[in-house]
């Protein structure tokens, strides 16, 4: 009825007339999918398909490797369910978007405090793409074409990074790792350094959970190459801000801050840099300003670096990012607070040690493979193939650790175990009992 009124106002009889400029040769009759369903049917069908998943909600989970099963305070969920946030677009119109803008500024501020970087963007897609963008940013700053990364790194990050630097033909060079101590080989970094190295990447804790003491020495040996540090934000409540040991750019995975694991997405790419470098930074940035009456206000800033203005010369192509996850991170940090965050980090360390000790008691399992101190993750050498162990644990209702073969071929017989505040004593008992029975 309404449609007819509208057609009439346009002086046409059929909606088809509005498509008359589509040549018949590219016309189609139908979309080859089933016809529509009711909301009830949709909810039932999707719920049923997903019910085949084994969840960390119902089962103990010892898996980490960049994504963690953490407790999310209910209030975080309530806050990021506010539909004024959920259903808004990127805050182009600052006057009606102060809520989102302030929340994102607060997110940037929290990450700035944790990392010591005064300039933080309002999110990248995830840690892997943030690393890729960081390498490209180093090139933008010093026009050099080599980037050093640790040999021990999540393989998704390695692969993503390679793709992100394809366009600038950057060489990704791995520096070696000491598999006895669990620390990087500083000599190897020095060997691989030359005047063509744009930046050096290091993770604290590293992919195997190790807190590498030598981190603080790296800046002094890499000369004027840029130092890019990858962080776990929870651990930063106990660890020094990377700015204090010379970081130029800090990246990381922010999922731990109030976002669920979501089968790996959406994640939250943390990205910050020294203030002097901000014009080379990728992504959306929120700045503090004032309105026409001099009141405090926020808006997106430095948009002249961005794709919609700079087009092919933009610092990055990012348009849509992970803003709502950034709000979740701000809400999470607000709720747990300074004391809560440290308590969570300490409890993770304590539980991880309990887990290590328990695992060590299983025949054939070797846990203290690395001498260096670790945060909440550690590799354990297993007497059977880790991939096989995963399946056995799963069939016994346990989500085990991450098998390392794909990431660190040298440790193909190891599984990376992670402990968060969600892991209970009885979870550990259950794990040990099952593993004890297999090996």
């Amino acid at each position: 009825m309404t449609d007819e009124r509208m057609l009439k106002s346009l002086g046409i009889d059929s909606i088809d007339d509005l498509f008359s400029d589509i040549p018949a040769s590219v016309g189609i009759d139908d979309i080859d999918i089933p016809s529509g369903a009711s909301e009830m049917e949709v909810i039932r069908k999707v719920t049923e398909i997903l019910s085949a998943n084994v969840t960390a909600y119902d089962h103990p989970c010892f898996m980490g490797g960049g994504v963690y099963n953490r407790f999310i305070p209910s209030a975080v969920k309530a806050i990021i369910s506010r539909s004024e946030f959920v259903t808004s677009y990127t805050p182009y119109q600052a006057e009606v978007s102060q809520g989102m803008l302030q929340a994102l500024f607060e997110y940037q501020s929290y990450i700035a405090e944790l990392t010591g970087m005064e300039a933080v963007n309002s999110s990248n897609y995830d840690a892997a793409t943030a690393l890729g963008e960081a390498a490209a940013m180093c090139y933008r700053i010093n026009k050099r074409k080599k980037f050093l990364i640790p040999q021990v790194i999540n393989c998704d990050k390695r692969s993503t990074l390679r793709n992100y630097v394809k366009g600038i033909d950057m060489d990704i060079i791995e520096y070696s790792y000491d598999f006895d101590t669990g620390e990087v080989d500083l000599n190897d970094i020095m060997r691989k350094l030359d005047e063509d190295v744009a930046g050096v990447y290091i993770e604290v804790p590293n992919f195997l959970g190790v807190i590498d003491r030598q981190t603080v020495d790296i800046k002094s040996i890499i000369g004027d190459a840029l130092l890019v540090v990858g962080v776990d934000p929870i651990s930063l409540s106990l660890l020094k801000a990377p700015s204090s040991y010379g970081a130029d750019i800090v990246i990381g995975e922010g999922q731990s801050l109030g976002s669920p694991m979501n089968f790996g997405g959406p994640m939250l790419g943390l990205f910050g840099c020294r203030q002097e470098l901000v014009r080379k930074m990728p992504g959306r940035i929120i700045g503090l300003t004032k309105d026409a009456e001099g009141n405090r206000a926020f808006c997106m800033t430095l948009q002249t670096r961005e794709q919609h203005i700079r087009r092919s010369r933009a610092t990055s192509n990012i348009c849509t990012n992970e803003a709502l996850m950034a709000v979740a991170a701000a809400a999470y940090l607000a709720i747990v607070g300074r004391d809560g965050l440290q308590t969570i980090a300490r409890s993770n360390m304590a539980i991880a040690r309990k887990l290590r000790d328990a695992l060590s008691s299983v025949d054939g399992v070797e846990c203290s493979t690395l001498e260096a101190p670790f945060f909440n993750e550690f590799p354990a050498r297993l007497p059977i193939k880790p991939e096989k162990m995963s399946k056995i644990l799963l069939r016994n209702g346990i989500i085990g650790g991450v098998p390392l073969a794909k990431h660190v071929p040298e440790m193909g017989d190891c599984m990376l175990f992670a402990a968060t505040e969600m892991v209970t004593d009885s979870d550990i008992d259950k794990l040990i009992n099952i593993m004890g029975a297999i090996v």
């Binding site: 999918i33 010591g116 995975e253 203030q275």
Partner: protein
């Protein structure tokens, strides 16, 4: 219509609660190496209800599609159905670790596998990867695939052709993948100029990036000819799927001759935009490019889903498999609409757009007077000349009436552009109301319009000031403003920013 947005004096959360940066006492067996031990942490401890009030009040100072009309051109801000919220927050979505063994994630893999099939059917492409996190990320992925394809043939093709109406992400993504961008002008009809295309095409051409209908809302009806020109020269055709909402069930990128494309699930498939993200930007390709898709692919063998890695794959463009929680929403939306529903979506989106356009033109000028699809671009140039009211002024004034502003100053070939996309989910009453307001603003006192908005949480925001001062975090503010007490008392940071003890950045 009268509108008043909430306005609260909401303190920065970093300034609330207790003021301290003390580290809790160390446990006796502390294992953190002393070189790396943190000594201060300036994060307030707050009461939970304080935090909830803080963000609830902030949310009320934010305008979403649930608050009102959102005709933001190119962004397809349609209603986001609530069943998708419920489904994407099931523990079978949220509490799944991406490294779990395949056996334990059959539900996720099935949903993704089926979503790929549906997207292929909708687009006429042969294979889909759900990995990219957003449209621009899909473009970048597509460019990497195109690069790998040409390299595989041993060809060095360094140029990507992009029309001047293209979204900024198109040239940015092509450049990120290492291509040189060749921009071609539009003709007097607002479409790609075929002779300009022919002049630009060469053995160096890797691809042409196009969205159809284009960003003016005009269908590129010479698409078959364009595809021929590009393919004959050995180049590929990339489709920016941001405008797919205009043509579902009527045509598709596959039959139009495109080889690679991305979808914006947060546009066409109604997933919410989250104040900037997350979105999802799956890529689709024709069969000959399938081996290059990002890894892993999802395959089905004997009733079980697997993650498989093809040797020719470009590898990863991010961690894991995609923005799964967004994929769940889009899957549910496609199920709900079905083939009949999706066609109706596009039909209605185009009808709404033409109806609204007809109400605004000729009061507003519209360059390239041609049939539009789901969006259209009008110009405030005459109004600017006659009454000194710019597109930006109109957009700000609209906010006073509780309407989101259209996209302004894009595409750049239209002076004083206002790009309007009403979407299919709006009623005729809303469209009429919007048109009435747009027309009445034309006649309003120019000073009133130029100083708008008035009814929003803050008055017109000074973006120049933000870019000059570059205060991007509380840490920056703290280090460079000295006495925070003073700011707290005045709660007027702006004036403090101007004070003498502040030494700007650059």
């Amino acid at each position: 219509m009268s509108y008043r947005q909430a306005r609260y004096d909401v303190e920065l959360i970093q300034k609330m609660g207790d003021k301290g940066d003390v580290i809790l006492p160390l446990p006796e067996d502390d294992e953190i190496p002393s070189e790396l031990r943190r000594t201060s942490l300036d994060i307030p401890n707050l009461r939970e209800n304080e935090v909830v009030r803080h963000y609830t009040n902030l949310s009320q100072m934010n305008f979403g599609i649930d608050n009102g009309f959102y005709p933001l051109g190119s962004c397809t801000m349609k209603y986001n159905p609530k069943y998708a919220d419920i489904l994407s927050s099931l523990p079978t979505v949220t509490d799944i670790h991406p490294c779990q063994d395949e056996e334990g994630v059959q539900g996720s893999l099935q949903l993704m596998y089926e979503l790929e099939k549906s997207l292929a059917a909708i687009s006429g492409m042969d294979a889909i990867s759900l990995q990219p996190a957003a449209g621009a990320h899909g473009e970048f992925t597509g460019m990497l695939i195109i690069k790998a394809y040409h390299e595989g043939l041993g060809e060095l093709r360094k140029e990507v052709i992009v029309p001047d109406t293209a979204h900024g992400t198109n040239p940015a993504s092509a450049a990120m993948a290492g291509f040189e961008v060749v921009e071609i002008p539009s003709n007097e009809d607002g479409r790609v100029d075929l002779s300009a295309l022919e002049a630009a095409i060469s053995p160096r051409t890797a691809a042409l990036m196009l969205t159809n209908p284009n960003t003016l809302g005009i269908f590129e009806k010479d698409i078959v000819k364009m595809a021929e020109i590009v393919h004959d020269a050995g180049g590929l055709l990339y489709y920016d799927g941001a405008n797919l909402n205009a043509v579902m069930g009527r045509t598709n990128p596959g039959v139009m001759g495109f080889d690679v494309m991305h979808f914006n699930l947060h546009k066409t498939f109604a997933t919410p935009h989250g104040g900037g993200g997350p979105g999802a930007g799956p890529v689709g390709v024709k069969a000959f490019l399938e081996p290059f898709l990002p890894a892993p692919r999802i395959t089905l063998k004997n009733g079980t889903y697997h993650l498989t890695y093809d040797a020719k794959s470009i590898g990863k463009v991010r961690s894991f498999y995609g923005n799964f929680a967004v994929l769940v929403r889009a899957y549910a939306y496609i199920l709900k609409c079905g083939s009949d529903g999706l066609k109706k979506v596009s039909d209605k989106a185009v009808l709404n757009s033409n109806y609204l356009c007809n109400k605004l033109v000729p009061s507003y000028d519209m360059p390239f007077k041609k049939l539009r699809k789901h969006e259209f671009v009008i110009s405030a140039k005459r109004l600017k000349e006659e009454r000194d009211i710019t597109a930006m002024d109109i957009s700000k004034r609209l906010l006073d009436y509780g309407m989101m502003a259209p996209t302004v100053y894009f595409p750049s070939l239209v002076e004083e552009a206002l790009m309007i996309e009403p979407t299919e989910t709006e009623s005729i009453e809303t469209l009429d109301q919007f048109a009435d307001i747009m027309l009445s603003i034309m006649a309003e006192d120019p000073d009133l319009v130029k100083n708008s908005p008035y009814n929003t949480s803050v008055r017109r925001v000074d973006e120049v000031h933000a870019a000059r001062e570059l205060i991007l975090s509380y840490l920056r503010l703290k280090r460079h403003l000295g006495d925070m007490q003073e700011i707290e008392e005045k709660h007027d940071v702006a004036n403090n920013l101007m004070s003498d003890d502040y030494t700007g950045t650059e």
